[in-house]
Protein backbone atom coordinates (compact mmCIF):
# COMPACT_ATOMS: atom_id res chain seq x y z
CA UNK A 1 0.00 0.00 0.00
CA UNK A 2 1.58 3.24 -1.09
CA UNK A 3 2.25 5.79 1.61
CA UNK A 4 0.66 8.60 -0.34
CA UNK A 5 -1.86 8.04 -3.07
CA UNK A 6 -3.56 10.40 -5.44
CA UNK A 7 -6.67 8.86 -6.97
CA UNK A 8 -8.13 10.56 -10.03
CA UNK A 9 -7.25 13.97 -8.67
CA UNK A 10 -8.63 16.83 -10.72
CA UNK A 11 -8.35 20.51 -9.93
CA UNK A 12 -10.42 22.97 -11.91
CA UNK A 13 -10.22 26.71 -11.74
CA UNK A 14 -13.44 27.68 -13.44
CA UNK A 15 -13.06 25.86 -16.75
CA UNK A 16 -9.30 25.57 -16.61
CA UNK A 17 -8.09 22.15 -15.57
CA UNK A 18 -4.84 22.69 -13.73
CA UNK A 19 -4.79 18.99 -12.92
CA UNK A 20 -6.78 16.31 -14.62
CA UNK A 21 -7.31 12.74 -13.52
CA UNK A 22 -3.97 12.36 -11.79
CA UNK A 23 -3.19 8.95 -10.36
CA UNK A 24 -0.04 8.81 -8.35
CA UNK A 25 1.55 6.47 -5.83
CA UNK A 26 4.34 7.56 -3.55
CA UNK A 27 6.09 4.64 -1.88
CA UNK A 28 7.53 5.01 1.55
CA UNK A 29 11.20 5.93 1.55
CA UNK A 30 11.47 6.91 -2.06
CA UNK A 31 12.38 10.19 -3.64
CA UNK A 32 9.78 10.85 -6.29
CA UNK A 33 10.47 13.47 -8.91
CA UNK A 34 7.73 15.53 -10.50
CA UNK A 35 8.71 17.24 -13.72
CA UNK A 36 7.01 18.96 -16.58
CA UNK A 37 7.11 22.15 -18.56
CA UNK A 38 5.96 25.41 -17.02
CA UNK A 39 2.28 25.47 -16.31
CA UNK A 40 1.97 21.71 -16.27
CA UNK A 41 0.51 21.71 -12.79
CA UNK A 42 3.48 20.76 -10.64
CA UNK A 43 2.94 23.42 -8.00
CA UNK A 44 -0.81 22.88 -8.14
CA UNK A 45 -0.14 19.26 -7.33
CA UNK A 46 1.77 20.25 -4.24
CA UNK A 47 -0.93 22.73 -3.30
CA UNK A 48 -3.55 20.00 -3.52
CA UNK A 49 -1.57 17.46 -1.51
CA UNK A 50 -0.73 19.96 1.21
CA UNK A 51 -4.32 21.08 1.58
CA UNK A 52 -3.97 24.58 0.24
CA UNK A 53 -6.37 23.60 -2.55
CA UNK A 54 -9.20 21.18 -2.30
CA UNK A 55 -9.34 18.78 -5.25
CA UNK A 56 -12.36 19.32 -7.46
CA UNK A 57 -12.52 15.60 -8.04
CA UNK A 58 -10.64 12.65 -6.72
CA UNK A 59 -8.99 11.89 -3.42
CA UNK A 60 -5.66 12.27 -1.72
CA UNK A 61 -4.99 9.33 0.54
CA UNK A 62 -2.24 9.19 3.11
CA UNK A 63 -1.53 6.02 5.09
CA UNK A 64 -4.88 4.71 4.00
CA UNK A 65 -6.70 7.78 5.26
CA UNK A 66 -8.47 10.30 3.06
CA UNK A 67 -6.92 13.71 3.60
CA UNK A 68 -8.32 15.69 0.69
CA UNK A 69 -10.33 18.57 2.08
CA UNK A 70 -8.38 18.91 5.30
CA UNK A 71 -6.76 22.19 6.17
CA UNK A 72 -3.04 22.68 5.61
CA UNK A 73 -2.29 22.64 9.29
CA UNK A 74 -4.16 19.40 9.74
CA UNK A 75 -2.30 17.79 6.87
CA UNK A 76 1.00 19.03 8.26
CA UNK A 77 0.10 17.48 11.58
CA UNK A 78 -0.57 14.18 9.81
CA UNK A 79 2.97 14.29 8.47
CA UNK A 80 3.01 15.94 5.07
CA UNK A 81 4.95 19.20 4.95
CA UNK A 82 5.81 21.35 1.96
CA UNK A 83 8.29 24.04 1.10
CA UNK A 84 7.56 26.99 -1.14
CA UNK A 85 8.95 27.82 -4.53
CA UNK A 86 9.39 31.48 -3.77
CA UNK A 87 11.03 30.64 -0.51
CA UNK A 88 8.66 32.02 2.02
CA UNK A 89 10.21 33.09 5.29
CA UNK A 90 9.29 35.10 8.34
CA UNK A 91 10.03 38.80 7.83
CA UNK A 92 12.64 40.19 10.14
CA UNK A 93 13.29 36.94 11.97
CA UNK A 94 16.71 35.48 12.66
CA UNK A 95 17.58 31.93 11.68
CA UNK A 96 16.97 30.74 15.21
CA UNK A 97 13.66 32.56 15.50
CA UNK A 98 12.54 31.18 12.16
CA UNK A 99 13.28 27.69 13.35
CA UNK A 100 11.48 28.24 16.64
CA UNK A 101 8.47 29.68 14.84
CA UNK A 102 8.38 26.48 12.81
CA UNK A 103 8.34 24.28 15.89
CA UNK A 104 4.65 24.06 16.56
CA UNK A 105 4.56 20.36 15.69
CA UNK A 106 7.79 19.59 17.54
CA UNK A 107 6.46 20.53 20.93
CA UNK A 108 4.92 17.86 23.11
CA UNK A 109 3.60 20.26 25.71
CA UNK A 110 0.23 21.96 25.51
CA UNK A 111 -0.41 25.68 25.30
CA UNK A 112 -1.58 25.68 28.91
CA UNK A 113 1.71 24.27 30.02
CA UNK A 114 3.48 26.87 27.93
CA UNK A 115 1.38 29.62 29.48
CA UNK A 116 2.02 28.41 33.00
CA UNK A 117 5.66 27.78 32.19
CA UNK A 118 5.58 24.40 33.88
CA UNK A 119 8.61 22.18 34.29
CA UNK A 120 7.30 19.87 31.59
CA UNK A 121 7.15 22.80 29.22
CA UNK A 122 10.62 23.97 30.10
CA UNK A 123 12.04 20.53 29.45
CA UNK A 124 10.11 20.37 26.20
CA UNK A 125 11.46 23.74 25.15
CA UNK A 126 15.00 22.64 25.81
CA UNK A 127 14.46 19.56 23.69
CA UNK A 128 13.07 21.67 20.88
CA UNK A 129 15.98 24.10 21.00
CA UNK A 130 18.26 21.10 21.04
CA UNK A 131 16.66 19.76 17.90
CA UNK A 132 16.89 23.17 16.25
CA UNK A 133 20.60 23.44 16.99
CA UNK A 134 21.12 19.84 15.93
CA UNK A 135 19.56 20.54 12.55
CA UNK A 136 21.39 23.81 12.12
CA UNK A 137 24.67 22.09 12.89
CA UNK A 138 24.02 19.15 10.60
CA UNK A 139 23.21 21.37 7.66
CA UNK A 140 25.91 23.98 8.19
CA UNK A 141 23.75 26.83 9.37
CA UNK A 142 24.98 26.94 12.93
CA UNK A 143 27.22 29.94 12.34
CA UNK A 144 24.25 31.95 11.17
CA UNK A 145 22.03 31.18 14.12
CA UNK A 146 21.57 34.76 15.24
CA UNK A 147 21.65 36.36 11.83
CA UNK A 148 18.57 37.64 10.04
CA UNK A 149 17.26 34.93 7.77
CA UNK A 150 16.86 37.30 4.87
CA UNK A 151 20.54 38.12 5.00
CA UNK A 152 21.61 34.61 4.09
CA UNK A 153 22.64 33.70 0.61
CA UNK A 154 19.95 32.27 -1.61
CA UNK A 155 21.13 28.71 -1.23
CA UNK A 156 21.20 28.89 2.54
CA UNK A 157 17.80 30.54 2.63
CA UNK A 158 16.48 27.60 0.70
CA UNK A 159 18.10 25.20 3.13
CA UNK A 160 16.58 27.13 6.00
CA UNK A 161 13.18 26.75 4.39
CA UNK A 162 13.74 23.01 4.21
CA UNK A 163 14.95 22.84 7.81
CA UNK A 164 11.90 24.77 8.94
CA UNK A 165 9.78 22.17 7.21
CA UNK A 166 11.77 19.45 8.98
CA UNK A 167 10.92 20.99 12.34
CA UNK A 168 7.36 19.94 11.60
CA UNK A 169 8.42 16.24 11.70
CA UNK A 170 7.29 15.28 8.23
CA UNK A 171 6.91 11.73 7.03
CA UNK A 172 6.60 13.15 3.55
CA UNK A 173 8.42 16.27 2.46
CA UNK A 174 7.11 18.10 -0.59
CA UNK A 175 9.87 20.22 -2.07
CA UNK A 176 8.73 22.79 -4.59
CA UNK A 177 11.62 23.55 -6.92
CA UNK A 178 14.25 23.87 -4.19
CA UNK A 179 17.13 24.50 -6.57
CA UNK A 180 15.59 27.24 -8.69
CA UNK A 181 17.98 30.06 -9.25
CA UNK A 182 21.00 28.11 -8.08
CA UNK A 183 24.15 27.31 -9.95
CA UNK A 184 25.36 23.75 -10.25
CA UNK A 185 27.40 23.70 -7.05
CA UNK A 186 24.64 25.11 -4.92
CA UNK A 187 22.14 22.75 -6.48
CA UNK A 188 24.27 19.71 -5.79
CA UNK A 189 24.86 20.93 -2.26
CA UNK A 190 21.10 20.99 -1.69
CA UNK A 191 20.80 17.61 -3.41
CA UNK A 192 23.28 16.14 -0.96
CA UNK A 193 21.21 17.43 1.91
CA UNK A 194 18.01 16.10 0.44
CA UNK A 195 19.66 12.70 0.16
CA UNK A 196 20.65 12.90 3.80
CA UNK A 197 17.12 13.81 4.81
CA UNK A 198 15.74 10.92 2.81
CA UNK A 199 18.21 8.51 4.36
CA UNK A 200 16.87 9.50 7.76
CA UNK A 201 13.49 8.16 6.80
CA UNK A 202 11.69 11.03 5.17
CA UNK A 203 9.88 10.28 1.93
CA UNK A 204 10.49 13.08 -0.55
CA UNK A 205 8.38 14.39 -3.40
CA UNK A 206 10.59 16.65 -5.42
CA UNK A 207 9.21 19.08 -7.96
CA UNK A 208 12.02 20.18 -10.20
CA UNK A 209 13.09 21.77 -13.44
CA UNK A 210 16.70 20.79 -13.17
CA UNK A 211 17.19 17.38 -14.80
CA UNK A 212 20.61 16.85 -13.31
CA UNK A 213 19.07 17.08 -9.88
CA UNK A 214 16.27 14.76 -10.87
CA UNK A 215 18.52 12.15 -12.35
CA UNK A 216 20.92 12.23 -9.43
CA UNK A 217 18.57 11.49 -6.58
CA UNK A 218 15.14 10.41 -7.68
CA UNK A 219 14.18 6.77 -7.83
CA UNK A 220 11.09 7.41 -9.89
CA UNK A 221 9.90 10.33 -11.96
CA UNK A 222 6.44 11.49 -13.01
CA UNK A 223 5.99 13.82 -15.94
CA UNK A 224 3.14 16.26 -16.09
CA UNK A 225 1.92 18.24 -19.06
CA UNK A 226 -1.06 20.57 -19.05
CA UNK A 227 -2.34 18.95 -15.91
CA UNK A 228 -2.08 15.39 -17.17
CA UNK A 229 0.32 12.68 -16.17
CA UNK A 230 1.99 11.68 -19.38
CA UNK A 231 4.76 9.41 -18.20
CA UNK A 232 6.15 7.63 -15.18
CA UNK A 233 9.22 5.57 -14.58
CA UNK A 234 12.98 5.65 -14.17
CA UNK A 235 14.35 9.16 -14.77
CA UNK A 236 16.74 8.47 -17.62
CA UNK A 237 14.38 6.18 -19.43
CA UNK A 238 11.36 8.42 -19.06
CA UNK A 239 13.11 11.56 -20.23
CA UNK A 240 13.94 9.92 -23.54
CA UNK A 241 10.40 8.97 -24.38
CA UNK A 242 9.02 10.74 -27.43
CA UNK A 243 5.91 12.09 -25.75
CA UNK A 244 7.99 13.60 -22.99
CA UNK A 245 10.40 15.23 -25.38
CA UNK A 246 7.41 16.49 -27.34
CA UNK A 247 5.99 18.13 -24.26
CA UNK A 248 9.23 19.89 -23.59
CA UNK A 249 9.82 21.04 -27.13
CA UNK A 250 10.35 24.71 -27.11
CA UNK A 251 10.98 24.70 -23.38
CA UNK A 252 14.46 25.00 -22.01
CA UNK A 253 15.44 21.80 -20.30
CA UNK A 254 18.58 21.53 -18.25
CA UNK A 255 20.00 18.13 -19.00
Amino acid sequence: MALLKLERVTKLFGKLAALEDINLDVEEGEILGIVGPNGSGKTTLINVISGYYRPTKGEVIFKGEKISGLRPDQIAAKGIVRTFQSNVLYEGATVLESMLLSSHLQYQSTDWEAFLNTKRYKDDFEKVVGRVLELLKEYDLLNDTFLPAKGLSHGFQRMLGILMALMANPKVLLLDEPTTGMNHEEAMFVVGHIKKINQQGVTVVLVEHNMKVISSITTKVVVLDFGHKIAEGQPREVMNRPEVIQAYLGTEVMV
Binding site: N47, Y52, Y53, R54
Partner: protein, 286 residues
Protein backbone atom coordinates in the same frame (compact mmCIF):
# COMPACT_ATOMS: atom_id res chain seq x y z
CA UNK B 1 -46.11 42.52 1.29
CA UNK B 2 -44.81 45.95 2.15
CA UNK B 3 -46.22 48.82 0.17
CA UNK B 4 -44.36 50.08 -2.88
CA UNK B 5 -43.12 53.08 -0.98
CA UNK B 6 -41.04 50.85 1.24
CA UNK B 7 -39.40 49.21 -1.73
CA UNK B 8 -38.66 52.60 -3.20
CA UNK B 9 -37.12 53.74 0.05
CA UNK B 10 -35.03 50.62 0.04
CA UNK B 11 -33.91 51.28 -3.48
CA UNK B 12 -33.00 54.83 -2.55
CA UNK B 13 -30.87 53.55 0.29
CA UNK B 14 -29.27 51.02 -2.01
CA UNK B 15 -28.38 53.78 -4.40
CA UNK B 16 -26.55 55.72 -1.75
CA UNK B 17 -24.72 52.70 -0.36
CA UNK B 18 -23.88 51.59 -3.89
CA UNK B 19 -22.33 54.89 -4.81
CA UNK B 20 -20.27 54.97 -1.66
CA UNK B 21 -19.31 51.32 -1.74
CA UNK B 22 -18.25 51.60 -5.36
CA UNK B 23 -15.90 54.42 -4.51
CA UNK B 24 -14.49 52.52 -1.55
CA UNK B 25 -13.84 49.35 -3.52
CA UNK B 26 -12.20 51.37 -6.27
CA UNK B 27 -9.86 52.95 -3.76
CA UNK B 28 -9.23 49.59 -2.13
CA UNK B 29 -8.32 47.90 -5.39
CA UNK B 30 -5.81 50.54 -6.29
CA UNK B 31 -4.40 51.71 -3.00
CA UNK B 32 -4.88 48.52 -1.05
CA UNK B 33 -6.37 50.34 1.89
CA UNK B 34 -9.80 51.01 3.23
CA UNK B 35 -10.47 54.71 3.63
CA UNK B 36 -12.38 54.92 6.89
CA UNK B 37 -12.94 58.63 6.35
CA UNK B 38 -15.05 57.95 3.27
CA UNK B 39 -18.28 58.66 5.14
CA UNK B 40 -17.02 62.10 6.03
CA UNK B 41 -16.49 62.99 2.38
CA UNK B 42 -20.11 62.03 1.91
CA UNK B 43 -21.03 64.37 4.75
CA UNK B 44 -18.88 67.21 3.48
CA UNK B 45 -20.36 66.80 0.02
CA UNK B 46 -23.79 67.22 1.53
CA UNK B 47 -22.71 70.40 3.26
CA UNK B 48 -21.17 71.85 0.11
CA UNK B 49 -24.38 71.15 -1.72
CA UNK B 50 -26.44 72.69 1.05
CA UNK B 51 -24.49 75.91 1.01
CA UNK B 52 -24.40 75.99 -2.78
CA UNK B 53 -28.15 75.62 -3.03
CA UNK B 54 -28.91 78.13 -0.32
CA UNK B 55 -26.59 80.53 -2.11
CA UNK B 56 -28.80 80.25 -5.12
CA UNK B 57 -26.97 77.77 -7.31
CA UNK B 58 -29.36 75.37 -9.03
CA UNK B 59 -29.43 71.88 -7.62
CA UNK B 60 -27.77 69.93 -10.45
CA UNK B 61 -24.97 72.46 -10.71
CA UNK B 62 -24.58 72.39 -6.95
CA UNK B 63 -24.20 68.65 -7.14
CA UNK B 64 -21.44 69.01 -9.67
CA UNK B 65 -19.74 71.66 -7.58
CA UNK B 66 -19.89 69.40 -4.58
CA UNK B 67 -18.40 66.54 -6.55
CA UNK B 68 -15.57 68.64 -7.88
CA UNK B 69 -14.74 70.39 -4.62
CA UNK B 70 -14.77 67.28 -2.49
CA UNK B 71 -13.16 65.22 -5.21
CA UNK B 72 -10.37 67.74 -5.16
CA UNK B 73 -10.23 67.52 -1.39
CA UNK B 74 -9.96 63.78 -1.74
CA UNK B 75 -7.02 64.09 -4.07
CA UNK B 76 -5.30 66.41 -1.65
CA UNK B 77 -6.08 63.97 1.11
CA UNK B 78 -4.47 61.17 -0.83
CA UNK B 79 -1.31 63.16 -1.43
CA UNK B 80 -0.87 64.55 2.06
CA UNK B 81 -2.12 61.80 4.30
CA UNK B 82 -2.53 58.50 2.55
CA UNK B 83 0.47 58.33 0.28
CA UNK B 84 3.10 59.07 2.96
CA UNK B 85 1.51 56.60 5.33
CA UNK B 86 0.95 53.87 2.81
CA UNK B 87 4.59 53.47 1.88
CA UNK B 88 7.22 51.66 3.89
CA UNK B 89 8.35 52.04 6.63
CA UNK B 90 4.78 52.85 7.50
CA UNK B 91 1.95 50.73 6.23
CA UNK B 92 -1.67 49.73 6.34
CA UNK B 93 -1.89 49.99 10.12
CA UNK B 94 -0.89 53.63 10.00
CA UNK B 95 -3.33 54.46 7.24
CA UNK B 96 -6.03 52.79 9.26
CA UNK B 97 -5.18 54.70 12.42
CA UNK B 98 -4.95 57.98 10.54
CA UNK B 99 -8.16 57.59 8.56
CA UNK B 100 -9.99 56.56 11.71
CA UNK B 101 -8.67 59.53 13.66
CA UNK B 102 -9.66 61.78 10.80
CA UNK B 103 -13.28 60.67 11.05
CA UNK B 104 -13.43 62.66 14.22
CA UNK B 105 -11.33 65.45 12.87
CA UNK B 106 -13.73 66.05 10.01
CA UNK B 107 -16.81 65.64 12.17
CA UNK B 108 -15.40 68.07 14.70
CA UNK B 109 -14.40 70.50 11.99
CA UNK B 110 -17.82 70.30 10.38
CA UNK B 111 -19.46 70.76 13.74
CA UNK B 112 -17.42 73.85 14.38
CA UNK B 113 -17.80 75.28 10.93
CA UNK B 114 -21.40 74.47 10.24
CA UNK B 115 -22.93 73.83 13.62
CA UNK B 116 -24.52 70.67 14.90
CA UNK B 117 -28.13 71.39 14.07
CA UNK B 118 -29.44 69.36 11.16
CA UNK B 119 -30.11 71.43 8.09
CA UNK B 120 -32.94 70.67 5.77
CA UNK B 121 -33.37 71.08 2.08
CA UNK B 122 -36.93 69.94 1.89
CA UNK B 123 -37.89 72.68 -0.51
CA UNK B 124 -35.52 71.52 -3.20
CA UNK B 125 -37.12 69.32 -5.82
CA UNK B 126 -40.31 69.24 -3.89
CA UNK B 127 -43.34 67.55 -5.16
CA UNK B 128 -43.99 64.06 -6.27
CA UNK B 129 -44.90 62.13 -9.33
CA UNK B 130 -47.63 59.59 -9.42
CA UNK B 131 -46.78 56.15 -10.74
CA UNK B 132 -49.92 54.14 -10.79
CA UNK B 133 -50.95 53.33 -7.25
CA UNK B 134 -48.25 55.15 -5.39
CA UNK B 135 -46.41 58.43 -5.37
CA UNK B 136 -42.69 58.87 -5.53
CA UNK B 137 -41.18 62.17 -4.59
CA UNK B 138 -38.99 63.93 -7.08
CA UNK B 139 -36.24 63.86 -4.51
CA UNK B 140 -36.23 60.12 -4.33
CA UNK B 141 -36.56 59.80 -8.05
CA UNK B 142 -33.58 62.06 -8.42
CA UNK B 143 -31.50 59.73 -6.27
CA UNK B 144 -32.37 56.73 -8.40
CA UNK B 145 -31.78 58.54 -11.67
CA UNK B 146 -28.57 60.02 -10.37
CA UNK B 147 -27.26 56.61 -9.38
CA UNK B 148 -28.16 55.09 -12.72
CA UNK B 149 -26.39 57.91 -14.51
CA UNK B 150 -23.32 57.74 -12.30
CA UNK B 151 -23.01 53.96 -12.45
CA UNK B 152 -23.36 53.99 -16.21
CA UNK B 153 -20.79 56.73 -16.42
CA UNK B 154 -18.41 54.72 -14.23
CA UNK B 155 -18.99 51.62 -16.33
CA UNK B 156 -18.23 53.59 -19.43
CA UNK B 157 -15.15 55.20 -17.94
CA UNK B 158 -13.74 51.93 -16.69
CA UNK B 159 -14.39 49.94 -19.82
CA UNK B 160 -13.81 52.37 -22.62
CA UNK B 161 -11.61 55.23 -21.63
CA UNK B 162 -7.87 55.49 -21.25
CA UNK B 163 -8.23 56.46 -17.61
CA UNK B 164 -10.43 53.47 -16.99
CA UNK B 165 -7.95 51.20 -18.66
CA UNK B 166 -5.16 52.58 -16.54
CA UNK B 167 -7.22 52.03 -13.43
CA UNK B 168 -8.01 48.45 -14.31
CA UNK B 169 -4.40 47.77 -15.20
CA UNK B 170 -3.10 49.04 -11.89
CA UNK B 171 -5.82 47.19 -10.01
CA UNK B 172 -4.88 43.87 -11.56
CA UNK B 173 -1.14 44.09 -12.11
CA UNK B 174 0.51 47.16 -10.66
CA UNK B 175 4.01 46.12 -11.65
CA UNK B 176 3.17 45.27 -15.22
CA UNK B 177 1.17 48.47 -15.49
CA UNK B 178 4.13 50.52 -14.40
CA UNK B 179 6.24 48.80 -17.03
CA UNK B 180 3.77 50.12 -19.56
CA UNK B 181 4.29 53.62 -18.31
CA UNK B 182 1.18 53.86 -16.19
CA UNK B 183 1.96 55.79 -13.06
CA UNK B 184 0.47 54.09 -10.03
CA UNK B 185 0.77 57.32 -8.11
CA UNK B 186 -1.28 59.22 -10.67
CA UNK B 187 -3.89 56.51 -10.81
CA UNK B 188 -4.08 56.49 -7.01
CA UNK B 189 -4.77 60.21 -6.83
CA UNK B 190 -7.30 59.99 -9.63
CA UNK B 191 -9.13 57.08 -8.08
CA UNK B 192 -9.24 58.79 -4.73
CA UNK B 193 -10.65 61.86 -6.39
CA UNK B 194 -13.29 59.81 -8.16
CA UNK B 195 -14.19 57.90 -5.02
CA UNK B 196 -14.56 61.01 -2.91
CA UNK B 197 -16.47 62.83 -5.64
CA UNK B 198 -18.90 59.92 -5.80
CA UNK B 199 -19.33 59.97 -2.05
CA UNK B 200 -19.81 63.73 -2.02
CA UNK B 201 -22.44 63.63 -4.72
CA UNK B 202 -24.21 60.82 -2.93
CA UNK B 203 -24.34 63.04 0.12
CA UNK B 204 -25.60 65.87 -2.01
CA UNK B 205 -28.29 63.96 -3.79
CA UNK B 206 -29.69 62.54 -0.58
CA UNK B 207 -29.58 65.86 1.25
CA UNK B 208 -33.13 66.87 0.33
CA UNK B 209 -34.45 63.52 1.52
CA UNK B 210 -32.76 63.47 4.88
CA UNK B 211 -31.09 66.32 6.69
CA UNK B 212 -27.53 67.44 6.73
CA UNK B 213 -25.52 67.20 9.91
CA UNK B 214 -21.92 66.40 10.83
CA UNK B 215 -22.54 62.80 11.91
CA UNK B 216 -24.59 61.79 8.90
CA UNK B 217 -21.72 59.87 7.40
CA UNK B 218 -21.55 57.15 10.01
CA UNK B 219 -24.44 54.87 9.26
CA UNK B 220 -24.10 55.04 5.44
CA UNK B 221 -20.42 54.26 5.91
CA UNK B 222 -21.17 51.20 7.99
CA UNK B 223 -23.85 50.03 5.61
CA UNK B 224 -21.54 50.51 2.65
CA UNK B 225 -18.88 48.54 4.46
CA UNK B 226 -21.32 45.74 5.11
CA UNK B 227 -22.32 45.86 1.44
CA UNK B 228 -18.68 45.41 0.51
CA UNK B 229 -18.32 42.56 2.94
CA UNK B 230 -21.35 40.79 1.48
CA UNK B 231 -20.21 41.46 -2.03
CA UNK B 232 -16.61 40.56 -1.54
CA UNK B 233 -13.84 42.99 -0.81
CA UNK B 234 -12.20 43.55 -4.18
CA UNK B 235 -15.29 43.29 -6.30
CA UNK B 236 -17.08 46.27 -7.85
CA UNK B 237 -19.98 44.08 -8.92
CA UNK B 238 -20.07 42.69 -5.42
CA UNK B 239 -20.31 46.19 -3.99
CA UNK B 240 -23.27 46.98 -6.21
CA UNK B 241 -25.07 43.72 -5.50
CA UNK B 242 -24.31 43.94 -1.81
CA UNK B 243 -25.64 47.48 -1.67
CA UNK B 244 -28.86 46.53 -3.40
CA UNK B 245 -29.44 43.62 -1.08
CA UNK B 246 -28.62 45.64 2.00
CA UNK B 247 -30.60 48.73 1.10
CA UNK B 248 -33.76 46.92 0.15
CA UNK B 249 -33.59 44.51 3.05
CA UNK B 250 -32.95 47.33 5.49
CA UNK B 251 -36.08 49.10 4.40
CA UNK B 252 -38.23 46.00 4.33
CA UNK B 253 -37.07 44.73 7.69
CA UNK B 254 -37.43 48.17 9.24
CA UNK B 255 -41.01 48.19 8.05
CA UNK B 256 -41.63 44.92 9.83
CA UNK B 257 -39.63 45.33 12.99
CA UNK B 258 -38.73 49.06 13.26
CA UNK B 259 -35.40 49.82 14.89
CA UNK B 260 -33.87 46.35 14.95
CA UNK B 261 -33.41 46.35 11.18
CA UNK B 262 -29.73 47.20 11.29
CA UNK B 263 -29.05 44.48 13.82
CA UNK B 264 -30.95 41.91 11.78
CA UNK B 265 -28.97 42.93 8.74
CA UNK B 266 -25.77 42.54 10.69
CA UNK B 267 -26.85 39.03 11.62
CA UNK B 268 -27.58 38.33 7.98
CA UNK B 269 -24.12 39.48 7.06
CA UNK B 270 -22.67 37.15 9.68
CA UNK B 271 -24.68 34.27 8.23
CA UNK B 272 -23.50 35.04 4.74
CA UNK B 273 -19.95 35.09 6.03
CA UNK B 274 -20.49 31.72 7.67
CA UNK B 275 -21.41 30.21 4.36
CA UNK B 276 -19.11 32.19 2.14
CA UNK B 277 -16.36 33.85 4.17
CA UNK B 278 -15.01 35.82 1.26
CA UNK B 279 -18.30 37.40 0.24
CA UNK B 280 -20.50 36.63 -2.75
CA UNK B 281 -18.11 37.81 -5.42
CA UNK B 282 -14.92 37.76 -3.46
CA UNK B 283 -11.82 35.83 -4.42
CA UNK B 284 -13.01 32.26 -4.65
CA UNK B 285 -12.40 29.78 -1.88
CA UNK B 286 -9.85 27.11 -2.65
Amino acid sequence: MPPAGIWVDGLVQSCIYMTMAFGMVLVFSILGILNWTHGQFYMLGAFVLYYAVTAGIPFPLGLLVSGIVIGGLGMLFERIIIKPLNTPPYGALYVTVATLALIFFFEGAAGLAFGLLPKGLATVLSGAISLGSFDITYQRLAVIIFTLVVMSAMYFVLSSTKVGLAIRAVAQEPVAASLYGISAARVSVTVMGIGCALAAMAGGIIAPVHSVEPFMGRIPMIMSLLAIVIGGLGSLTGAIVGAIILGVLNSVIAYKISFWSEVVLFMLVIIILLVRPQGLFGAAAK
